[in-house]
């Protein structure tokens, strides 16, 4: 997948670059609106990560251009402003999703995948790995052909693991993914532990391999090998 990162902060760009690079994505980055326009004029991208606050203008103005000339590109807005207005305007102008800083890189990746699935894979929204397959339309998880009885959060969690295979997912990142930003509840990571435990138990019961392991002190990891 080819990704264009439009973000003025070099360090953040590098982090995203590194993380997505390991997933095999081809990333290009730019810090200004002008350069972004040039790049968009010359190349095709599957996904554009767009920071709203750029030194030479508001990133939202780029949306029009992207929508006019790059219909197939997914646009994910990255903003430090948690302002609802930006969110609504962004989505109205044709952005596919919106993520606010500070985000976990795994979360960003999950969002990129979700947007990509929604748009590029048509109706066939199956995420599969070995014996596990998830249907993101019907929220059905299967091990081989056995239907897994998962709760919505467990399904969400499994999908998050599958998208971020071989990555250490911190409890914070998992909690933020499952319950969103504003719940102060996240402080209680017991819930994360419980969810992961239940999920592992259900997968094993259905005859699946136990891919999920605990990473000491940090969180969990879905091991593909």
């Amino acid at each position: 997948m080819k990704v264009l990162i439009i973000e003025d902060n070099q360090e953040l760009t590098r982090s995203i670059h590194d993380f997505l690079g390991r997933e095999g994505y081809i990333c290009e980055s730019t810090g200004t609106l002008e350069e972004a326009k040039d790049k968009l004029g010359m190349f095709r991208y599957d996904c554009v990560l767009l920071d709203i606050g750029l030194p030479d203008g508001n990133g939202i103005s780029l949306l029009n251009l992207i929508r006019a000339e790059h219909k197939e590109s997914n646009v994910l807005i990255i903003s430090a402003k948690n302002a609802l207005d930006d969110k609504i305007i962004g989505l109205e102008k044709g952005a596919d999703d919106y993520i606010t800083k500070p985000f976990h890189l795994a979360e960003l990746h999950a969002r990129i995948r979700a947007v990509y699935r929604r748009k590029n894979l048509g109706g066939a929204s199956i995420v599969a790995f070995n014996e596990i397959s998830l249907n993101t339309d019907t929220f059905e998880a299967r091990i081989h052909d056995t239907l897994l009885d998962t709760t919505p959060k467990e399904f969400d969690l499994l999908l998050y693991f599958l998208v971020n295979k071989n990555r250490v997912l911190s409890r914070q990142a998992i909690a933020a993914h499952l319950w969103g930003d504003y719940t102060d509840n996240l402080a209680n990571f017991d819930f994360v532990y419980q969810h992961v435990k239940n999920l592992r138990r259900k997968i094993s019961a259905a005859g699946g391999m136990d891919y999920i392991s605990t990473v000491y002190g940090l969180g969990y990891k879905f091991n593909s090998k």
Binding site: A80, N82, A83, P102, S170, Q172, D181, Y182
Partner: protein, 440 residues
């Protein structure tokens, strides 16, 4: 009290004082004048009698002698330096058979070497008889003035205060968020012109301050969130590298602190936005549906904590609230009820009741260590050891204040009860009383 009424009353008071003093002056002036006129007449009469004595002849029975007394007195009885004097007093008037006010004028003359004392008198009207007349006339004057002041006060104030009232109307419709400065009507009254100039300056300043505060909030949000995002990203990457267990613990500590930092920051930013009234209700939101959805999204957590939920949600309850705020309100209240619940298996209970006038959420839990009202303050926690940042209820209260909802919090018989009243006429505390604890 209205300004006009105040002015009128003051004028009336001043008029009363002035008229009282004026009445006294008039009274004494008349009294003095009457005496003076009478004294002058008698002095002239005494002079005429003295002239008659000089000319010689018998004047007994002459009209001048009707109330006169002429006496020759020894030289040493003549007072020195005094030609004439008068006395006043009440005396018997035989003509009218009553006690009347009597004026006696005594003059001394030296005619042909003899010393004469000529005394004449007359009865004049008593001053006391004048008093009612004076009082009467002043009463009428007072009445007339009062009527005039009241009528003119109403009319003139309407005319004079018109610019003031127009200014008031403009100020009442003033909104900090408005982009253009206020337009006040022109006036020729210098005080009002000053007031208008002052108001214009003040509102402009307030608007500018509001704008810069808003910009600051947004900038602070932007500038702080980016470094936080970088730290978080780097930590995410660091986690993936080959690390030892003790390093993992260090990273986890940083992750936790970072989580708190970003949560505190976004909560504070949100509170500021709420205070700046950036989220205004555009259309009524169906709180019944939202409550059901929020409960649904927390169902798994409740199951994990083995909490029993009793909910009683009235259909189609609409409140005037921004949808995001309604969501935030419910999320905070319900997640609070879950988090601060009993941890013992099967002991925890959550009760949610929504009806047209309000929302009541009750949960079992430990007794708070600080008064419940203080828990609405920022960074106040019922249990200081808990991991939460203690800002959820502050946000809830801010949302309630903003929407003119009343909120009350009480701990009784092992239940934390939080009530929100959507109806301004019904205080939230009423729901606390009505929230009977026996479960259905």
């Amino acid at each position: 009290m209205k300004l006009t009424t105040k002015f009128t009353l003051w004028y009336f008071g001043i008029m009363l004082v002035v008229l009282l003093i004026g009445g006294a002056i008039v009274y004494y002036e008349i009294q003095w004048k009457i005496s003076r006129v009478e004294v002058v007449r008698h002095e002239r009469l005494n002079d005429i009698i003295a002239q008659q004595i000089r000319q010689g002849g018998d004047y007994t029975g002459h009209p001048t002698r009707k109330r006169a007394m002429v006496a020759v007195i020894p030289r040493d009885s003549v007072p020195r330096g005094v030609v004439t004097f008068y006395t006043r007093g009440v005396d018997w008037n035989p003509e009218f058979q009553s006690n009347e006010y009597k004026l006696v004028v005594t003059s001394f003359y030296t005619i042909n070497g003899l010393h004469y004392r000529v005394t004449t008198y007359s009865f004049i009207p008593s001053f006391y008889q004048l008093l009612p007349g004076v009082v009467d006339s002043f009463k009428w004057i007072l009445l007339l003035l009062l009527v005039l002041v009241v009528i003119s006060g109403g009319l003139i104030s309407k005319y004079i205060l018109a610019p003031f009232k127009r200014t008031m109307r403009v100020i009442q419709s003033f909104d900090l968020k408005q982009k253009e400065s206020i337009r006040l009507p022109g006036t020729r009254t210098s005080e009002f012109r000053e007031l208008n100039e002052f108001l214009k300056k003040m509102t402009d300043k307030a608007r500018e301050d509001y704008q810069s505060l808003k910009e600051f909030t947004e900038n602070a949000s932007h500038e702080l969130q980016t470094p936080t995002a970088i730290i978080r990203g780097k930590l995410d990457l660091l986690m993936e590298s080959d690390i030892r267990d003790e390093q993992a613990i260090l990273i986890a500590g940083m992750q936790n602190a970072l989580e708190r930092l970003s949560r505190i920051h976004s909560s504070l930013t949100l509170l500021t936005k709420l205070e700046n009234k950036e989220y205004e209700a555009r259309e009524p939101v169906c709180i019944s549906r939202l409550t059901r959805e929020t409960i649904g999204s927390f169902e798994e957590l409740m199951q994990m904590k083995a909490l029993t939920l009793y909910s009683d949600i009235e259909e189609k309850v609409y409140v005037s609230l921004h949808a995001s705020l309604a969501d935030l309100l419910l999320t905070n209240l319900i997640s609070n009820a879950i988090r601060h619940n009993m941890s013992a298996e099967g002991k925890g209970i959550i009760r949610v009741r929504l009806h047209r006038d309000g929302l009541v959420i009750a949960n079992t839990g430990h007794e708070p260590q600080v008064p419940t009202a203080e828990l609405f303050e920022r960074f106040k926690k019922g249990n200081p050891g808990s991991d939460s940042i203690g800002i959820g209820l502050a946000i809830v209260r801010q949302i309630c204040d903003l929407s003119h909802f009343d909120i009350a919090y009480q701990f009784s018989s092992g239940f934390h009860i939080l009530a929100v009243s959507f109806n301004t006429r019904v205080p939230a505390s009423k729901f606390l009383q009505n929230f009977s604890l026996p479960l259905h």
